[in-house]
């Protein structure tokens, strides 16, 4: 009976599904009762899954009756039923089966996993779990098996295009660079106040990217890099108030829950997988060749009436006029190798299960030079249940080490767009750097720093122990104890030979060191209570949180190493200095509660609340309360709808409203303090202090409808949301006359994010051998600064506009070519003959108009094919049209040679340069940068079982994966995912292939 009780939710779900099936599969046909109708048979049997493992807790019920039972832990059941009855066997995540008893006494049934039954999949909401069918909030889920084959470093990168309302933008093109992730838009005016909360197995992870001095500086290092993609069971993204309010002050930007895989009862299984492949940059910008470039340069001198000399026209007079180098190929035209090896084992008995895993992943580079990335991970998970089922222990440990070797201090993709096509070669014939030819004209070799080498190594441990004990019927005590430790150690070596030998007078062998150590613990004791009350099911939860996080960061520099080989050994350095050192402590504590009520699987209510305290705020403003309510009505359960709309297999209306907060602001920001100057013996104020600032509050409202048609073969979800973030907590920019250029303060401004999210999934074909499933998600976000008292008098006067999104450009109006000067002309709006922000009245929305993804899942016999397109509608800019200047331009400016082109007169005079730099801030460079990209495609072939059996292998498959295989876009820049300027790329094209065996 206890068992029965614990599975109450499942039973309800199962019965509901059962009823659906009953109702929708076949209109009930009246059959005359045969004679044997009243004969009762005692039936017993075992329910197993496709792999032959027992399915405990499955519902076995008699059709058209209220009788039923559950399978025990070994999948066995016993039941008495009329000999002519039909049994319905159902279990979450499996297709329900109906079996006619037909007088049999022993019925063993194999259940098939139901990819279709999305509604039945259990969804983790952090402190409790629900099902897709019964959820009252907005939660998107991606299953680990959809992403584990992708050759990416951070799991977040694999989520691109998969979830409605989740926008992922890569920041760099090096493995390990953090991506920007926005859940339902930008809420905070502060860039660094928009990180979602990351939680791995119940333990919060600092989502701020790690700092680096290497080429990873821009964007920083993703703290999730060290996770093993294959260890991920699921990633859930919590979006609305109902789902996020229980995270209180940290829920404003959404929550990303990563759950790792657990062991399974039964025979010990071993899975091994290996894949490898190659990546390259798929696109190039169409640039001038030498001949045309020089022609345009000569024209510039003619037009400017300047005599070319060796000093001002070395590309014309000193450098070889016939030389041509494709600098794009030179700098990023390489091929990168990818290798990935994964091994895991799992098994266990009734009481204890385990899962052990290990992986290795390595990636090369497309850049010139020795770059490589590698990652090694190990994971262990153990669960134990006491014999009396009262005590549960669950321990998970994820450990990863990654090493990023980069050539120091070069932004190689940017270099490619700075150099004239006839610039000298980078290397001498003996493979040393060519200083001579570049030095002749006063330039340094663009590969200066080439022999610099940085090694960035992260060790990351995430562990959590959950202990739960059943105190009484329906009441359990539960607590988790989480610990994380992320150590990042970076060494940048800058040997003398990296630099121009002519210039090494004051340069020595140097090294730079950055060490960061992030350490945190969390303890969350909770009481969980379930009961059947008033004909429904009540779930209650109350708990508290104690969290501490310590961050230590130090950077050192050292110089004066006698030889290159000693660089990095501080003992061998002549001088050692510290450029920064900080220790920060953050403490957080909270009380939270949840009350859920489910009445007959029809009406659902969910109330959550949290009281939070954080050390990031001054003593007067340390605490705040957050709460939310959500409700859902499964109207397809109402008889009148059931009867009236037969095609409707599922229908739910739901809504939620509540508050969340944002405490992502530096530690100690409220302190009025001095720090040591770099020079000896001094103290100085390093920031302005404001002891009174408090939380940013985000009020979220959501309304949604979810529909299933034709036996759930078509599922449609529409959600509308409106999030309003006010009391903006910002590093408020100040003019320098205030002493510093910013101060932390709450701003009386409101940012609103509204949007519509559409999710559609269809089962196009569903037969034994051929199955085809499609899902589509699209988001139409709208971001707006709806309120900002006295914006015109504020420091943001020329950054934001009320009624416009946050991500805007304030631009000049382009007016065409000035007929007098021949240069670009922009509108002087106030006719004061100067150009400043008062003339920049044009508002350009830089955000995405809509975005989404379409994925397809096709299975035919032993083959399966998955592919995902993602699409974005947006605008971007194109630059590199400063015809006549030293450097390189796009081939399009060829037209400038024609007098009547749309480009300005070819020139390198100061007025031409000014006109170009001004027109870059006008609407002229704006172009459509929408795209549709085949993000990922994978083809799998399951090896036939008969052959495998002979060699003792249970399962085996071969697979091929392609990333970014093609892109449909009108954008002429390098990559529409980085649509500003056009000279950056974010995504490589990769093709990998491999094999997987299960023993």
């Amino acid at each position: 009976m206890k068992n029965n009780y614990q599975s109450h939710t499942y039973i309800v779900a199962a019965i509901v599904i059962g009823l659906f099936l009953l109702f929708s599969i076949k209109p009930v046909t009246a059959t005359p009762f045969p004679n044997s109708y009243f004969q009762e048979v005692e039936i017993s049997g075992t329910i197993i899954d496709k792999e032959g493992l027992p399915v405990p807790g499955a519902t076995v019920s008699i059709k058209d009756s209220k009788t039923g039972t559950l399978t025990d832990i070994e999948g066995n059941y016993e039941l008495t039923a009329p000999a002519s009855a039909t049994l319905i066997i159902s279990y979450l995540g499996f297709k329900s089966r109906e079996v006619a008893v037909d007088g049999q006494e022993e019925i063993d049934i194999q259940l098939e996993e139901d990819v279709q039954a999305l509604g039945a999949v259990e969804i983790n909401t952090g402190y409790y779990s629900t099902t897709d069918r019964e959820r009252t909030g907005n939660i998107s889920r991606v299953s680990g098996k959809d992403i584990e084959m992708q050759p990416v470093v951070s799991p977040l990168q694999a989520l691109q295009g998969r979830m409605a309302g989740v926008e992922i933008t890569p920041n760099g093109n090096l493995p390990g660079n953090a991506s920007t992730i926005r859940i339902r838009g930008t809420n905070s005016l502060r860039e660094e106040g928009n990180f979602p909360l990351y939680i791995i197995d119940g333990v919060p992870i600092n989502s701020t990217p790690l700092e680096s001095n290497s080429n990873l500086t821009f964007g920083g290092i993703d703290p999730l890099n060290t996770l093993n993609l294959s260890n991920i069971e699921s990633i859930e993204v919590l979006k609305d108030a109902d789902a996020t309010s229980i995270y209180g002050s940290r829920g404003a930007n959404g929550v990303i829950l990563i759950t790792t895989k657990k062991g399974r009862k039964g025979k010990t299984e071993l899975q091994a997988r290996v894949y490898s492949g190659a990546s390259s940059v798929p696109n190039r910008v169409d640039l001038l060749n030498t001949e045309v470039y020089l022609q345009i340069r000569r024209r510039a001198f003619e037009n400017d009436q300047v005599e070319p000399t060796e000093a001002n026209a070395f590309d014309l007079l000193v450098w070889d006029e016939d030389r041509y180098t494709d600098w794009q190929d030179k700098f990023f035209g390489g091929t990168s190798q990818v290798t990935d090896v994964n091994l895991n084992a799992s098994g266990g008995n009734e009481n204890t299960t385990f899962r052990l895993s290990g992986s290795y992943h390595s990636q090369g580079t497309v850049f010139i030079g020795d770059y490589d990335y590698s990652k090694v991970t190990a994971g262990a998970q153990i669960s134990h249940t006491s014999d009396n089922n009262r005590l549960n222990l669950d321990l998970s440990i994820n450990y990863g080490v990654d090493t990023n070797n980069l050539v120091g201090y070069l932004n190689l993709s940017a270099e490619a767009f700075l150099l004239p096509p006839n610039a000298p070669s980078l290397f001498n014939e003996d493979n040393t750097l060519n200083w001579q030819d570049w030095g002749e004209v006063g330039w340094d070799n663009p590969l200066e720093g080439y022999y610099n080498h940085s090694t960035t190594k992260s060790n990351n441990l995430v562990s959590n122990l959950v202990v739960s004990y059943q105190l009484a019927k329906g009441l359990s005590f539960k607590s988790n104890f989480g610990y994380t430790n992320l150590i990042n150690d970076e060494l940048v070596k800058r040997p003398l030979r990296s630099y121009n030998p002519a210039n090494t007078g004051n340069i020595e062998n140097r090294s730079g060191h950055v060490q960061s150590d992030r350490n945190s613990y969390i303890i969350e004791p909770q009481l969980v209570y379930n009961a059947a009350i008033g004909g429904g099911k009540l779930d209650a939860l109350i708990g508290s949180t104690f969290q501490q996080s310590l961050v230590h960061q130090q950077s050192l520099f050292a110089e004066g190493y006698v030889t290159e080989s000693l660089i990095g050994n501080l003992n061998a350095a002549e001088n050692i200095g510290s450029s920064s050192s900080s220790n920060t402590k953050y403490r957080y504590s909270a009380i939270f509660a949840r009350l859920g009520y489910n009445w007959k699987g029809k009406y659902l209510i969910n109330l959550t609340g949290r009281r939070d305290g954080s050390s990031r705020f001054g003593p007067n403003n340390r605490f705040a309360n957050f709460g939310a309510g959500g409700a859902a009505w499964i109207f397809s359960e109402e008889p009148f709808i059931k009867n009236a709309l037969e095609f409707l297999s599922f229908g739910k209306l739901r809504g939620s409203y509540g508050t969340t907060g944002n405490d992502q602001i530096g530690d100690y920001g409220y302190l009025d303090a001095y720090e040591a100057t770099r020079g000896p013996g001094g103290l100085y104020p390093t920031q302005l202090s404001n002891p009174d600032y408090s939380w940013e509050v985000n009020k979220k409202i959501e309304a949604a409808i979810e529909l299933g048609f034709i036996e759930d073969k078509i599922n449609l979800g529409l959600s509308w949301y409106r999030n309003r973030s006010s009391n903006q907590l910002v590093g408020y920019p100040l003019p320098a006359i205030a002493g510093f250029t910013s101060v932390q303060a709450n701003l009386p401004a409101t940012v609103e994010n509204t949007g519509l999210e559409v999710e559609l999934s269809t089962f196009n074909i569903d037969s034994q051998n051929f199955r085809w499933q499609t899902s589509l998600n699209t988001s139409f976000p709208r971001n707006e600064l709806i309120n900002y008292p006295n914006l015109n008098q504020s420091s943001y006067a020329n950054t934001y506009r009320v009624g416009e999104p946050l991500n805007i450009g304030l631009l000049y109006q382009y007016e065409g070519i000035d007929t007098e000067t021949g240069f670009y002309k922009i509108a002087d709006m106030n006719n004061d003959e100067t150009f400043d922000y008062q003339d920049r009245n044009l508002v350009w929305d830089r955000g995405r108009e809509f975005f989404g993804g379409i994925s397809n899942n096709i299975m035919y016999r032993n083959f399966s094919l998955q592919f995902l397109f993602d699409f974005v509608k947006q605008e971007g800019t194109l630059t590199l049209f400063d015809a006549g200047e030293l450097g390189i331009q796009r081939r399009e400016i060829l037209n400038a040679l024609d007098e009547n082109s749309s480009f300005q007169t070819i020139s390198q005079s100061t007025p031409a340069g000014t006109a170009y730099s001004q027109v870059l801030n006008s609407n002229l460079p704006i172009v459509d940068a929408s795209f549709m990209r085949l993000r990922t495609l994978s083809l799998n072939y399951n090896l036939p079982g008969r052959i495998l059996e002979k060699i003792g292998i249970r399962e085996g498959k071969l697979f091929v994966n392609g990333q970014n295989l093609f892109t449909l876009t009108n954008y002429e820049g390098l990559d529409p995912e980085s649509p500003y300027g056009g000279t950056e790329f974010r995504q490589l094209r990769s093709i990998t292939g491999g094999v997987q065996f299960n023993l």
Binding site: S614, Y674, G679, P680, G681, A736, A738, F740, A797
Partner: protein, 466 residues
């Protein structure tokens, strides 16, 4: 059994609630920060806060002598320096007197000056509100800090014209403040300097001339009065300095003038304040041609300037560098381009030679021709030039004025924008500079208020011509 369970639940619940208390959230301040209150709780830490200001003078763009300093940028604006980098417009704009409001060097100069003023205001606030600091230290530090504020405003008002006069740390008010009149700012400068003179002694702490004392404030006030054409005050104050023969002396050896704590120095900034392992001055690093790659140096002395120096001028020999293969000249007052040896040169801010030139000009304006010639000849004599007293005693007043300004140009070149400010205060900028650049306009005598600053504070108006 049931009641027991119930009690247990209540107890458990209470433990949760008790635990979540405020004490848990108290975190001690981090080891890299000292609470402001603590800083002004003792003489030692308050002195450290003033030392911080001295240190930051070497790091701050406007005063550091580097690539965004008053010294470099305003020398480019006149006929002293020329930009050498083909691809860097930021220097070129100063040389061509066509500075864009977005010029980052102009912005650095402005931002660093106001940051310095904030540091001073914060120190003055801290001193005023503290009851723990001894009277002696309070006076001493107040005097030093007020000098730094007056010094910084002097350059702001002379480079930008009307600027906001910020005297408090109330950043929310200050952020939207408007520009104040020159009269108000000059009045504040004089009041601050007068306060320094009243509060300070004639001693240099630790014998180091990077500390401010009464003499430093007096010498600077002499200049302020000269600019305001208060000739009698200028003469009086410069005489006071010149008479300190125990402390100050015009050094015969020109190569020793810019050494640390040289007897000619009235006030210097120590490159040690910059921290790190290098000990050369930023001027040395910026001006001196690299021995092999001259193109790394952003500026050179203009050829016209070098021609102005007569052949026998000792300053041409000792203070001008020459790069053979480029046939280019550079300022060579500082001899060390790069070093991590113990510090030997300090960056010069105020020196005795200027005081002679101030007095010469002031005396002339008061029609003390003989006195003016005597002071001017002291400078000429050291430079190895003929003495006016010996060759041209009958010189007209106009010719003598010209001689004084010519001498100022040759003596004080590439030091703290003397030439630029001289041309401006005598309204000769257009006459002297219009031929240098095709972009010259009358309004170029003021630099533009940085664009970013005006974006953030809409109440700041722009100077005419930008």
């Amino acid at each position: 059994m049931k009641t027991n369970n119930y009690k247990f639940q209540v107890m458990l619940l209470c433990t949760f609630l008790l635990f979540s208390c405020e004490d848990y959230l108290e975190v001690e301040s981090p080891d890299n920060k000292i609470i402001t209150e603590t800083v002004f709780n003792s003489d030692e830490t308050a002195v450290s806060a003033m030392k911080g200001i001295y240190n930051q003078l070497s790091r701050a763009s406007f005063s550091g002598g580097g690539t965004s300093s008053v010294t470099l940028l305003s020398s480019l604006s006149t006929d002293e320096l020329q930009a050498t980098l083909v691809n860097d417009q930021t220097y070129k704009q100063f040389e061509e007197n066509e500075i864009l409001p977005a010029n980052p060097r102009n912005n650095n100069l402005w931002v660093s000056a106001y940051n310095m003023i904030y540091m001073v205001n914060a120190l003055l606030d801290g001193l005023q509100n503290s009851e723990e600091i001894t009277e002696e230290i309070r006076d001493q530090l107040t005097g030093e800090a007020k000098f730094v504020r007056a010094f910084t405003y002097f350059y702001l008002v002379n480079l930008y014209g009307e600027v906001p006069l910020v005297l408090s740390t109330e950043y929310s008010e200050n952020a939207l403040t408007e520009r104040d009149t020159k009269e108000l700012i000059n009045g504040q400068i004089i009041a601050d300097l007068q306060a320094s003179i009243n509060l300070l002694t004639n001693e240099y702490s630790e014998g180091e001339r990077f500390y401010v004392n009464r003499l430093v404030a007096t010498a600077f006030l002499a200049r302020v009065h000269l600019y305001k054409e208060n000739w009698d005050q200028a003469e009086l104050l410069s005489s006071e300095i010149i008479e300190q023969t125990e402390t100050f002396e015009l050094l015969e050896d020109l190569d020793s003038v810019f050494l640390a704590n040289s007897k000619e120095a009235i006030w210097q900034i120590s490159p040690e304040g910059d921290g790190g392992s290098f000990t050369h001055t930023n001027e040395g690093a910026t001006f001196i041609f690299h021995p092999i790659i001259a193109s790394l140096t952003p500026v050179k002395l203009s050829g016209d300037f070098v021609l102005l120096m007569e052949g026998e001028d000792e300053r041409l020999i000792n203070w001008v560098g020459y790069h053979q293969s480029r046939d280019d000249y550079s300022p060579y007052k500082y001899k060390i381009r790069s070093s991590s040896d113990p510090v030997s040169e300090y960056s010069m801010v105020l020196r005795l030679a200027e005081q002679y030139l101030i007095r010469s000009e002031a005396r002339l304006m008061e029609d003390d021709i003989a006195g003016a010639i005597a002071d001017l000849d002291i400078i000429r004599k050291r430079a190895g030039l003929e003495l006016i007293a010996e060759t041209n005693l009958e010189i007209s007043k106009e010719a003598l004025i010209d001689s004084i300004f010519k001498e100022r140009k040759k003596e004080l070149f590439t030091e703290w924008g003397h030439r630029w400010l001289d041309l401006k205060r005598t309204e000769k900028a257009t006459e002297k500079l219009a031929s240098k650049t095709s972009y010259w306009e009358e309004t170029d005598v003021l630099y533009p208020i940085p664009e970013e600053e005006r974006i953030k504070n809409p109440n700041l108006t722009q100077n005419a011509g930008y």
